[in-house]
């Protein structure tokens, strides 16, 4: 167990280092200086000062070293487009909002997805099963921005039930969270249904039934526990999905989260912001994947924690 966690931890650090390095050198491979705007060249003295301020006058490897050094102190550097702002401040402002939205979406997706999958499996090949699977296929096929547009169109514009956009009260959370959770619900529901169908044919379910346990106990205590295990492996990818997906959703609903700063960074070609947000999000995701992997090993005692040679 410990050696597994340790190896997984080392691989996490390597991946993290790789993405930091990749981001750094990709951003510095872009031709031109970030201070040139629409062909207007800056005054030479000003440009030199700016370059000195952002350490851009030093050799690339020195800059890289300085960047790593600052990262170790959790300092993601100043914004280039707006010199009074830093990436750390942006994250402090934007991340709580994105985190709240993401958390609500993930919880909603897990609960709804599992419920849908279980119901579909219990009523296998009946109307409810087909309905649930149709919802699942649609959920996988319809992009989140389409779902978001439909929700705004009907819930906000036509029926005026919810506010159209922005952030603040609990009513503001509903539509973006729904739009974000729609795809993940579909994936979880399908996976849960498949596993549930398989588990329900197992002998220990038969035994539980023979013991005279109530159907609810059988489903909740015996079947579901084993059926949702594979869903745990999906959690890492799911969270990644929701977090990056929220860039688009935040743009549509004008939510002041991380997505706003990231998209603004892309549009302004503000390299330090793009770099900072990418590194921050990657670190977060890679760490979550690590946690999920370790959790999975703890929850399911059948899993061998040592990587087998034949593992895919």
């Amino acid at each position: 167990m410990l050696s597994f966690v340790f190896r997984r931890f080392i691989s996490m650090i390597v991946t993290l280092w790789l993405i930091i390095t990749l981001t750094f050198f990709l951003m510095h491979a872009v031709p031109g200086s970030p201070f040139e705007k629409e062909g207007k060249a800056l005054n030479e003295a000003v440009a030199a000062n700016l370059n000195a301020y952002y350490n851009l006058d030093k050799p690339l490897l020195v800059q890289y070293g300085l960047y790593l050094q600052k990262l170790l102190q959790f300092d993601l550097g100043p914004s280039i487009a707006n010199s009074s702002d830093t990436v750390n401040k942006m994250i402090a402002r934007g991340f709580p909002v994105s985190f709240q939205l993401g958390l609500i979406s993930v919880v909603f997706a897990i609960v709804t997805g599992i419920a849908l999958g279980v119901i579909a499996a219990l009523r296998h090949n009946r109307l409810i099963d087909y309905l649930a699977m149709i919802i699942a296929v649609i959920g996988i096929s319809v992009p989140s921005f389409v779902v978001a547009s439909l929700l705004i169109k009907y819930l906000a514009v036509e029926w005026k039930l919810l506010p159209t956009a922005t952030w603040g009260t609990w009513q503001h959370v509903i539509m973006p969270a729904l739009a974000l959770a729609f795809g993940p619900i579909a994936i979880i529901a399908r996976l849960t249904r498949t596993n549930m169908l398989e588990v329900l044919t197992q002998e220990y379910i038969e035994t539980a039934r023979a013991k005279g346990l109530s159907p609810a106990t059988i489903v909740l205590k015996h079947a579901l526990r084993n059926a949702i295990l594979p869903v745990v492996t999906l959690l890492g990818a799911l969270i990644a999905n929701v977090l990056t997906g929220s860039f688009v959703i935040e743009k549509i609903f004008a939510i002041p989260g991380m997505g706003k700063y990231f998209v603004a960074g892309i549009n302004n070609r503000d390299y330090s912001v793009i770099m900072g947000t990418t590194v921050f999000y990657s670190a977060l995701l890679i760490f979550l994947m690590f946690v999920v992997d370790v959790l999975y090993g703890i929850i399911d005692p059948r899993i061998k924690l040592h990587r087998k040679e034949s593992e895919g």
């Binding site: 993405i19 990709l26 296929v137 096929s141 319809v142 992009p143 921005f145 547009s149 169109k153 895919g312």
Partner: protein
């Protein structure tokens, strides 16, 4: 016990054939097709994909409009006899643009899937077949890449390379082949150690013969399913990038670009500008997804989902 002659009648000749196979033997492909044919939903997906392909080819030509032609008088007109899907805020014909966008979106999806296929099968196949230390090194590398957040890397690459059709395809394939490589490698590794391959080896089969006759036919199903399912994910990523302003640039159109341009129309009421591209993205994803599911069942009936 009386032993009479009638106990010694020779067996009738036609019974000897009882073990012969009467039905014609089906090849792997025929069998898969037989199973796919029974799956109505998957067939529908196939038909929709073919129709989309046909419309992408002829669509921009049959409307009588040009995709980039602007006209101020024709601004934001609802669907009519001349503009079947209406016009956008530059007076461009939405019908023409939607099918022009279909070309771009389908092109991006298919090309990215094909590149993933070539790199992934080669990489995974070599790692799985050679095994040992080479496999270990190759897969360590893939493991690290696999941990990278896919869309963030793609966005990063797009920012660096600048928006455009070619860069989208490069950015998508730069990370897309990893899943394919892992799948193929796992499959090859599993089969390489199976008894029938060992049997073939003991009978003196050459490596190339084993790859061609045993490994390839047994992996091809999974590969086809994977390719079918990676087309919609590439189309989706393209729409996602275009939506963030990183994709195809005007006057070219893709579905993602058109959906992004059409977003303000939720409030202005020009619904056709958002509806048609959004509907076509969803329809395409749906068609590829059900076809992919159907193919999985057809090629590998054991792993029915």
């Amino acid at each position: 016990m009386i032993v009479s002659d009638d106990l010694f009648i020779p067996m009738r000749k036609d019974n000897l054939n009882a073990e012969a196979i009467v039905r014609p033997q089906l090849t792997f492909w025929q069998e898969a097709w037989l199973r796919l044919r029974g799956n109505k939903l998957a067939l529908m997906g196939l038909v929709v994909i073919i129709l989309l392909g046909v419309m992408a080819t002829i669509g921009p030509m049959i409307s009588g409009h040009e995709y980039a032609k602007q006209s101020i008088i024709m601004k934001n007109k609802p669907p009519s006899e001349t503009n079947w899907f209406g016009t956008d805020d530059f007076g461009r014909d939405v019908f023409t643009r939607v099918w022009y966008g279909a070309r771009i979106s389908l092109f991006v999806g298919l090309t990215a899937a094909l590149i993933d296929f070539f790199i992934g099968v080669l990489y995974g196949g070599i790692a799985g077949y050679l095994g040992g230390r080479i496999d270990n090194i190759m897969m360590r590398f893939v493991d690290i890449l696999y941990g990278l957040p896919y869309l963030l890397v793609v966005i990063l690459l797009m920012v660096v390379m600048g928006p455009g059709l070619l860069t989208i395809i490069i950015a998508l394939s730069a990370t897309g082949w990893i899943g394919m490589a892992r799948t193929v490698r796992g499959q090859v590794l599993q089969m390489k150690n199976s008894e029938y391959v060992l049997a073939a080896k003991t009978m003196g089969a050459k490596p190339f013969y084993i790859i061609r006759k045993h490994l390839l036919p047994n992996t091809i199903g999974i590969i086809i399913v994977y390719v079918t399912l990676s087309v919609p994910s590439a189309i989706f990523s393209e729409a996602f990038l275009s939506f963030l302003g990183l994709g195809i640039q005007a006057p070219m159109a893709s579905w993602g670009v058109m959906a992004n341009d059409g977003l303000p129309t939720i409030l202005s009421g020009h619904w056709w500008r958002l509806f048609f591209p959004a509907f076509l993205i969803s329809l395409t994803m749906l068609a590829f997804n059900v076809l992919g599911d159907g193919l999985r069942d057809a090629f590998d009936p054991k792993s029915r989902r």
